[in-house]
Amino acid sequence: MRQSRASLIGAYVVLGILALLFLVPFYVMIRNAFSTSTWISSPTWHLLPNSWGTGNLSRLLANTNVGLVQALGVSAVIAVTQTVLTLVIAAMAGYALAKLAPAGRGPMRRASSAVLGLTLVTLMVPSAVTFVPSFVMVAGLGWVSSFRGLIVPLLFSAFAVFLYRQYFTGFPVELEEAARLDGAGYWRTFWRVVMPNSIGITGAIGTITFIGAWNAFLWPLLIGQDRAYRTVQVALSTFMTSQGVDVPELFTGGLVAILPVVLVFVVLQRFLVEGVERSGIG
């Protein structure tokens, strides 16, 4: 499609302005993280920071009220464990629903259709809406303030199962048959042949799960009340709503908390874009 030069220039101008607007929040965070309190609350806006260096960071790390290092550790444990286990559980279930569902019309066929139906229904009810039931269950198990309580209820993602199922439905059957003719059973075929050929989708679902777990707020707020189980989001939120908040320290904490996800994001963006596109929408 040809387009006039003027309209192309117009498109770039609009994109440029919007891109600048989208970057403003990042700029503000970086500026505040490297400024002093009085510099930030000055009535004239200072474009550049005035406290380059690690002064704010070392004060933040020494601030025992925040406990940033421990919170980063808790978040890392939760995000990594949740991502790995979600992937394993969802890949297996998605593969089963796509490729192993019993054929024919017997009761087994109906049972497997019911599993798929249950998965689709679960997609409709977001887990955030049912936080009270989840809390009831975890409290009943005595898992409040524990890693089990923070992680286990989130491992069974209908969304991830659905994405894997969509992907495996189109997986070439020849590869599996070749493996099985070589004497590999279903289990070995899945782990040795199918999964190594599903890096893209696994990267996509993994990235989405990791970012979601790292950024989660409501569930860790309910279950990680004990200091030892505070995630970085809950720690920052608590700091933000407490008395006498130190703004430069807070923004330094925000910057530190954002680094892992932005890093993962930038490195794996290709997978992520692919994953979002694959989500079977449209």
Partner: protein, 320 residues
């Protein structure tokens, strides 16, 4: 070759017992593969919902196993449905949705269309709009609340307003509904990139030959969009609107972190989940009976909405 044929080949040779055939078979492995997910889903989604439905009939405070004398029937439901604050929270959700859906929709579609027109630096621009998706609502709220829309003179937007001679605005004081500007712009910034990617995928699915045929008929610019692009995006659009509404229904993080103070959560801007949190788990004591009843009502609302949207989309497709 079909899978059962392979099974026969593997199990024949020695006279395999019936049990053996079951263990090695496809159906057996189906259940092995699906079991972890299925057991987890039942244990951590469906059993809790049933348990909660039971609890919703009790005055269950600080307990998940109420005594028979705490039974209140539908008392919790009655008190919720007659509570003005609960109905207000549904109204708040409605207002929020009516604002956020068209804005998010238009902005993400607009960005996708703009990106389609440029070649150079397309990936760069896409990344800039997409990266906010990785930021948590907690951190976005921090930036919006303490710097961009800080009610003091030194807030960034207030600085700009003052430079034009205006008076600083108390964005989050609740005296006027301007706090919606804060909450809506925050959510827009954070989620527009995600829907933009979905629209790009939808646009890529429209064949180039469709455009070429339309161009031969002399369609350009707005006409091309109105008669080709827009109708071709119908199912993508329907899915995106559904996703935006469902995510607005779950709004909690940014409201809580933008508005909660040491003195508690202010009386305004309480969407359903914030309301539910405040009455059930947010205070000093846990009112799990009332919270469970609230969950049942809200789950019903979202399921009914989902079904209506699904049926509506089907009808629309059938008519085409």
């Amino acid at each position: 070759m079909s899978a059962p044929a392979i099974d026969r080949r593997l199990t024949s040779g020695r006279a395999a017992s019936g049990w053996r055939r079951v263990v090695g078979g496809r159906t057996f492995w189906f259940w092995v593969f699906v079991a972890p997910f299925l057991v987890g889903l039942l244990t951590f989604v469906y059993v809790p919902i049933v348990w909660s439905a039971y609890l919703s009939l009790f005055d269950a405070r600080n307990t998940v196993t109420p005594r028979p004398d705490q039974f209140v029937g539908f008392g919790n439901y009655v008190s919720l449905l007659t509570d003005k604050a609960f109905l207000t929270s549904l109204g708040t959700f409605t207002v929020f949705t009516l604002v956020i859906v068209p804005l998010t929709y238009a902005a993400s579609l607009g960005l996708a269309l703009l990106l389609q027109r440029v070649r150079v630096a397309r990936t760069f621009f896409r990344s800039v709009f997409f990266i906010p998706t990785a930021v948590s609502y907690v951190i976005a709220a921090m930036i919006w609340r303490l710097s961009l829309f800080n009610g003091a003179r030194f807030g960034m937007v207030n600085t700009i307003i003052r430079s034009f001679g205006g008076a600083p605005v108390g964005w989050l004081s609740g005296d006027t509904p301007v706090y919606w500007v804060v909450l809506v712009s925050l959510r827009l910034w954070l989620q527009v990139g995600f829907y933009m990617i979905l629209f790009i995928a939808g646009l890529n699915r429209i064949g180039q030959d469709t455009y070429e045929a339309a161009a031969l008929d002399g369609a350009t610019g707005w006409k091309l969009f109105r008669h080709i692009t827009w109708p071709q995006l119908a199912s993508t659009s329907a899915a995106i609107v559904l996703l935006i509404v469902i995510s607005a229904f779950q709004a909690f993080d940014e409201f809580y972190n933008t508005l909660a103070t040491i003195g508690g959560y202010p009386p305004f801007a309480r969407p359903p989940l914030v309301y539910l949190y405040l009455i059930s788990l947010g205070g000093g004591s846990q009112n799990l009976g009332l919270g469970s009843a609230g969950t049942m009502i809200l789950t019903l609302v979202i399921v009914v909405f989902g079904v209506v949207q699904l049926v509506g989309t089907r009808r629309l497709k059938a008519r085409r």
